[in-house]
Structure formats: C-alpha cells, structure tokens
C-alpha cells in the first residue's frame, strides 16, 4: 500500500483525463514510466543473458527468465487492473510487444542468424539484381512466388540506400507495432473493452512463434500483421455501415497485400472472412450492414484465386505435403502404427525440468479454460458472427496440440498457434475480465496475473528450446547456432571467386549461407528431387552417387568436417529426406566426409580448416 502510494506520488503529475471534462484532454502517464523502467531493466538483463550464453555461462537462463519477468510481470499486473485508461493499456501493449521484439533482435543484433532469414535474403537479392519477381530460389522454391516482403524491402532499399539488415530490422519492428495495434483494436472493437483487449494481447504473445519465429525477416512475419489489419479494417468498415472509405480501402488493400506475401496466412484470412460472412448473413440479421464483410470475403476469394491460379500453384502442393504429412502421421500415432514424438527431446541441451513443468501447466490452463471461455462467449446473449468465428477457431486448439506428438505435424502445430491464439486471447480475456458476469472465472488479480504469466512462459518454452532463444557457441545442425564466421566467410568467398549460381551439395547450414550470401545453387531433394544427401553419407562414390551428381549437374561439394563431431541438434545434417533423419545416434563418419580426397577427377580447391570445397565437375567424366 505504501509502495503504491509512493509510486503514485512519484509519477503522477496530473489527474486522469476525465477530471476536468471542459478542458482539453490531458493524459496521465502515471504507470507508464514504471513500465518503461522495468522493461528497460528487463532488456538489460536479457542483454547480459545473451552475453553469458555466448560463452555457455551458467547464468544465462536465470538472467533470461529474470529479464522476461521484469518485462512481462509489471505490464501484465497493470493490464489486469481495472484502473488504466484505454490509451495507457494501448501504450503498455505496444511497449511490451516492441520490447519482446528487441529480445529477438538482441540475440543477433548485427547480422541475420535464423535460417529462414537467409532464405528470404536470397529472394530479396534476386529481386534487387534482376528488378523482377519470380526468380528461382533454391533454398525455398515457394518464396519468390509470394514476394510481398521482399518487394516491400526492395522498395525501401532502392528509395533509402540503407543496408538490407538494418532495413529488415526496421521493417519487422514496424510489423510488430502493427500486430499489437491491430490485435488490441480488434479485441477492443469486438468486446467493447480496452481491458479485455490488453489481456487478449498478452495471451496472444504466449503463442509459440511470437518471440522468435514471427519476429524474423520472413514472409509470414509481415503477412500476419497485415492480415490482422485487414480483419480490423473489415470490422470497422462494417461498424461504419460501409460508409468509411478509409476502412474499406484499407481492408481490400490489406487483403491483396496478404495474398501476395504469404500463402498460409492468406488462406487462413480467406477462411476467416468467408466463415464470418456466411455466419453474418445467417446470424446478424437486423444488425449493422453485413455487405462489407461479404465484399471483403468475396474480394479475398477472388484475389487468392487469381494469384494461386496464375503464379501460386506451387503453394498448394507445398502446403498439401506439410498438412497431409502431419495428418497422416497423427492417424498413425492414434492407431498405434507409429510411436508418438517425444516432447522436449533433441540432441541439444536438455530443457530444464522447471521449464517443462511450466510448458505443460500452460497448456493445461488453456485447455481447462477453453470450455469456460466458449460458454461465456455464447451464453446470455446472441453473439455476433465474428465471435462465433473466433469460437470455432478456439475449438481447433486441442487438435493443434495433438499434432505436436508427430514429427511432420509439429511445425504445423506451431504455425497454427499464430492464428488460434487470436481466438484464445479475445475469448479468454473476455471470460477473465469482460463486463458480462461469469460465475466460474478467477476474480482476484493475484490469481489472474500468475495464470497469465504461466501461459506466457509456457508458450515461450514450447516455441523455442534454450538454444533457440539465446545465442551461443557452435553446434552441429543447430540452425542459428550453426551460423558462424567461417561459414559466412566461405559463402562470401564462393560468390567472389566462383561466381553465382554454381550447383553444389552442402549441409543445411552451409547451404543456407552459400545459397544467400554466396548466391550459389545448393541442390536438394526439395528443389531438384535428388537425394544429394545420400552422396554425403555414402562411404564411397559408387554408381548411384555418380548418377545423382550427373543428374544434378553438381559442380562442387562443400564438406564441413565439424559434422563428424556430433549428431545434429535438429534432426538432420543435410535435409529431412536424408538417411536416418531424426534418428541419428552417432555422428556421420569422418571418412564419409573425406572420401572425395584423392578421387580421380576431383580437385580440392578451398580449405579453411573446417570447410573444404571439392570441384567434382570432372568426376563423372573420368569415372567409368
């Protein structure tokens, strides 16, 4: 009580905005400075955590969690309170959202580090050098077909002359601001409560991809905020009886922008809008004009049909493989044909037991709350169509959890959380603190805040293992932990000395670097339907390996001798289709990697200690 009074005296310079209604509105900043201070302190601890992690220091994880708690705790406490104004809640949500974005930036503040970032860098580079779209990206063939992110970045680059990395960071920061704003305003508009909107935003931040995946320079990271913006704009357009040109124009433009930016987000947006339109026509008779929702849905269907039919057809195949793979494996697990995937198990550092407990508790809390939030959404009133759509989405949450017990469906489950948590956030927050009474909700702030913190922390744990959240020394097959100066320098050397677009074989990390920084063409089963990984695992070069090299027109083989030091942290050395992917118990033999030495027709043209490059262009010619 004394502490609260002290903070109030220290920070309050004026009364709240309704004290003198005849004067021009003034804004109280009472708690916001406290939030800024605690968030800043949290960022300092996270910077120290990153510093410790780079040397595998034992204090890195405790510092990480202390920093996160300092950032999220006070913000959540304040948002749960009924006292703050709408503007204050919005400010807190923005500060928290941006601060969590900086958490990701601080892991690698001077260069790209996440594998997908290099993938999109390649597409961006191709657009900048050619001036046109739909080039061939060997790292992710689908990327050039949805070029919204790269086109926007290219436009900013040619207009500003700034470097790609700083531009990417600014763009993703702007996207984060749009995410938080649109989510908050969407929830506030649907529920009529800024308090609900603030807590809905915190619950959304608990989705598995929020901290890292949706903050990286990747097409989905830009598509999601634009899709949220589209939904908010449609809602406002409808609420203005279709008379708001701004909201209508923004909605249609945002739908188009989403379509050309990311396939999955676009399909989710179409599904949402169509379901909303249908339910609105059926349920919302006599309410506000529904034609804006119908127009938006029809526009979304039309734009997506045109785009997918003309250039985006590859996406259907791409998504079909992913979704069917997960679904088929789930069926196999349920019928006992396949063992379920073990959670929190990888070749990297073990997830600490307390984190596992928090992760399970988080899921349990959401599952327990789900029926209550759904009942609350429909009880005692005729819920608007948009609430019903959110309810349908929320019901998919348990299904998405089941996919986590499959190898092929884990990524689908993670991606699904980016959308399902909108529904969980809005409905959950409305149940927790909404104005309509509910008998079964926790009432005390001392209970609600810890629940929200557990849900947030659990999502963070489930989304990224410790080696994914923090930087650190090199690990084999460990995504960003495998990106290091020697690989980067080798890729730069390749572009300088070999020229671009040479077809080569490399492990997953060096393939990303060579394919982006090096502008080379790594050949894989994903882009050429050739099992080039088998060439690397073979003890000797035989007929089948020669056949792959010939059919792939492989010119170079890039060998990273460090692969023989350990099993990959994330399932595979080269690609998911390699022998024993996900089941490596011993490292790839060094002899397999060194088999190119002394082979007739093979020359060794580059050696940096760990990375060797062989020219195999004459191997096929000289081998009988």
């Amino acid at each position: 009580m004394i502490g609260r009074q002290a903070i109030h005296r220290l920070t309050t310079a004026s009364r709240t905005e309704h004290a003198h209604p005849r004067r021009r509105p003034r804004v109280s900043v009472a708690w916001r400075p406290v939030i800024v201070a605690s968030t800043g302190a949290g960022l300092l601890l996270l910077g120290l955590a990153d510093d410790q992690a780079r040397i595998d220091g034992p204090a890195s994880l405790p510092l990480f969690w202390a920093g996160i708690l300092l950032m999220v705790g006070p913000s959540t406490w304040r948002l749960v309170s009924p006292a703050p104004s709408r503007n204050e809640r919005m400010s807190i949500v923005l500060i928290l959202g941006l601060a969590l974005y900086l958490v990701k930036v601080m892991v690698s503040p001077i260069a790209f580090s996440l594998p997908d970032e290099f993938t999109h860098w390649r597409t961006l580079d191709d657009i900048l050098s050619s001036g046109h779209l739909f080039t061939d990206n060997p790292l992710l063939p689908i990327s050039p077909v949805f070029p919204g992110l790269e086109a926007a970045t290219a436009a900013a680059k040619v207009s500003s002359g700034l470097g790609i990395f700083p531009l990417a960071m600014i763009l993703m920061g702007a996207a984060r601001v749009v995410t938080m704003l649109s989510l908050f305003l969407l929830a506030a508009t649907i529920t009529g409560s800024a308090r609900v909107a603030g807590i809905a935003s915190v619950i959304y931040m608990a989705n598995l991809s929020f901290l890292q995946f949706d903050a990286q320079f990747s097409y989905e990271s830009l598509a999601i905020p634009i899709a949220f913006l589209a939904i908010w704009a449609v809602l406002c357009w409808s609420r203005h009886s279709g008379r708001s040109v701004l909201h209508g124009g923004l909605a249609l433009a945002a739908i188009a922008a989403t379509t050309v930016t990311h396939h999955l987000t676009s399909l989710v947006l179409v599904t949402f809008l169509v379901t909303w339109a249908v339910l609105s026509l059926v349920r919302d008779r006599g309410a506000k004009p529904r034609w804006p929702i119908v127009v938006a849905a029809a526009w979304a269907v039309a734009v997506n049909t045109v785009w997918f039919a003309t250039v985006g057809g590859l996406a259907i195949t791409y998504l079909n493989i992913i979704v069917r793979g997960g679904a088929d494996e789930l069926v196999a697990v349920l019928t006992g044909a396949t063992a379920a995937k073990q959670l929190f198990v990888s070749a990297g550092p073990a997830v600490p037991p307390p984190e596992k407990v928090v992760a399970y508790a988080s899921v349990l809390l959401l599952l327990l709350a789900l029926p209550f939030m759904l009942l609350h959404a429909v009880r005692g009133r005729r819920p608007p169509a948009v609430v019903l759509v959110l309810g349908l989405a929320a019901m998919l949450y348990p299904v998405s959890l089941a996919l986590r017990f499959t190898v092929a469906g884990s990524e689908t489950s993670q991606r699904a959380s980016e959308f399902l948590f909108v529904a969980l956030g809005v409905l959950g927050a409305d149940w927790l603190v909404g104005s309509r009474p509910s008998r079964w909700r926790p009432h005390r702030r001392q209970i609600v805040v810890p629940i929200l913190l557990v849900v947030f922390a659990g999502g963070l744990v489930s989304g990224d293992p410790p080696q994914g959240r923090l930087p650190g020394p090199y690990h084999v097959g460990a995504e960003q932990r495998s990106i290091e100066p020697e690989g980067v320098a080798t890729a730069a050397w390749a572009l300088r000395e070999l020229g671009p677009n040479n077809r080569l074989i490399a492990d997953r990390t060096n393939a990303k670097l060579l394919g982006s920084i090096g502008a080379q063409y790594p050949v894989t089963s994903a882009n050429q339907h050739l099992g080039t990984a088998y060439v690397m695992f073979a003890a000797t070069i035989g007929r089948s390996e020669l056949d792959i090299i010939r059919r792939g027109a492989i010119k170079y083989v890039v060998v990273d001798l460090r692969l023989a030091s350990d099993v990959p942290v994330y399932r595979y050395y080269f690609e998911a289709a390699e022998p024993d992917a996900g089941q490596h118990t011993t490292p790839i033999p060094l002899a397999s990697l060194q088999k190119f030495d002394g082979l007739p027709g093979v020359t060794r043209i580059y050696d940096s200690g760990d990375i060797i490059i062989y020219d195999v262009s004459r191997l096929v010619d000289v081998t009988p």
């Binding site: 406290v34 207009s159 100066p485 020359t603 580059y606």
Partner: protein, 253 residues
Amino acid sequence: MSLPDPRSRVAATLLILVTLGLLAVQLVTNQPALGGVGLVLLLVPGFVVSQALGPRPLGWPEGLLTTLGGSLVLAVLAGVIAALLPHGLDASSVAAVELVALSAASTIWLVRLMGHDVTWGRLRISVGPGSLLLVVVGLALGSAGFIVAVRGAQDQTHTSFVQLWSVPPTSGADELLGVRNLTGLAIDCEAVIIRPGQPEYDWHIGAFANGQSWLGQLPRRDRSSPGLWQISVHCAAPDGSTFDRRLSIDPPA
C-alpha cells in the same frame, strides 16, 4: 466540429511536400533520393491516406495503425507493382508508383483541409519529474542491454581461421594461389607444392596482417608431367598458433 490546428497542418503539409519532392527527384535520377529519410515511406503514405479518407479524427492508436499499417500495405503493393512493370523494380519505378498513390491521397487531403473537414486532436501529456526520470532510466537500461548484446555479438564474430584456395582460371590466364588471414593476428606463411615429375616447389609467402589477402601466381605446369599438384600451406602466428591447409589442384599447362 473543432477548427484545425494550424501548426500541425503546416508541419504535415511540409512533410508531404518534401516527400513528394524527393520522390520526384528519385523518379528522375533513379537514385535513392530519400536516403535514410526514405524511411518516411513507412509513415507518410499511410498518414496521408488515413487523413484523406478517414471518417473523423482518429484516436492515436487508430491513427498510428492506419498510418503505419497503411504504409506497410502500400510498400508491399508498390514493390510488387513496380517489379511487375516491364521497366522492373528500381528507384524510379518505385518512386513512380508511390508518387501516384501519394499525389492522389494528398490531393484529397488538401481538399478536405481547405474545407475544414479535417480535425486534429491535440494531445497534452503532463509528465512529472519522477516520471521523466523513470522513462530516462528505462531507456538507458534498455540501451545498455542492447549495447551489451551488440558487443557480445561482435566479439563472437571474431575469426580465427585461414582461407586457402586456388580456382581454375579463365582461359589463358595463370592459376593463382590465394591465402586470406582471418585469424585476428598477423601470420607468416609458407607453401610447399608437390608436382608429379617435377621438383618440389617451396614458396615463402611471407607475413600479412589480419584481414589481408595474398595472391600468388602458380608456376606453369610442365606439359610432360600430368597429375594433380598437392599444395600445403603452413602459417604461424606470433602467439605460437599454427594453421595448416592443403589443396589438390590440376593447374593448366
């Protein structure tokens, strides 16, 4: 309906005119006229559109969302449209697309402004000294954390390796041997070239500093002595660390 705030109106008009002017320069010169200011493309287009088409004064969250979100949407669509044009995406095509959109929106906005149809809410923020101190402390702490992270990342990018290479030359050219020092130290290197049917070739490459590269012309192959050459390079640093690299090449005769 309240009267427009003159200072805000003048500031916004100036910003828009400057942006239009710079875009026009960019269109003509095909150079990034905006420079670092080019980041205004992340704000100005959306701002103008929201002011031009908005139904009423927007609250700051709605205004910020339509400004920033609208600008992002326009950036995506402008980039895609520019790249789909026969001319292709470059500074002038992006400027052309942005100019069309911004000019149209600016015209509508100016018309509304003339008719006093646009209103500006003026936000007054009262900040006590304690609040200001807390904000400054928070920003300072956050910045310190960021600086710690940046310095840690820079330290981790310190290298400790040597690159050795020899790439088949274009026709008629001599093959070169390349060494690049990325050890963080000065190194002294020597090479030994074992050539089938020819005497061993010892080559003192010499000393060079961190970050420097060395390129040497390899001796020509004796036509009567085919076979691969084995090149071994040994580099030593003052602290006692050594780096050994080897190649196996087929140089031209």
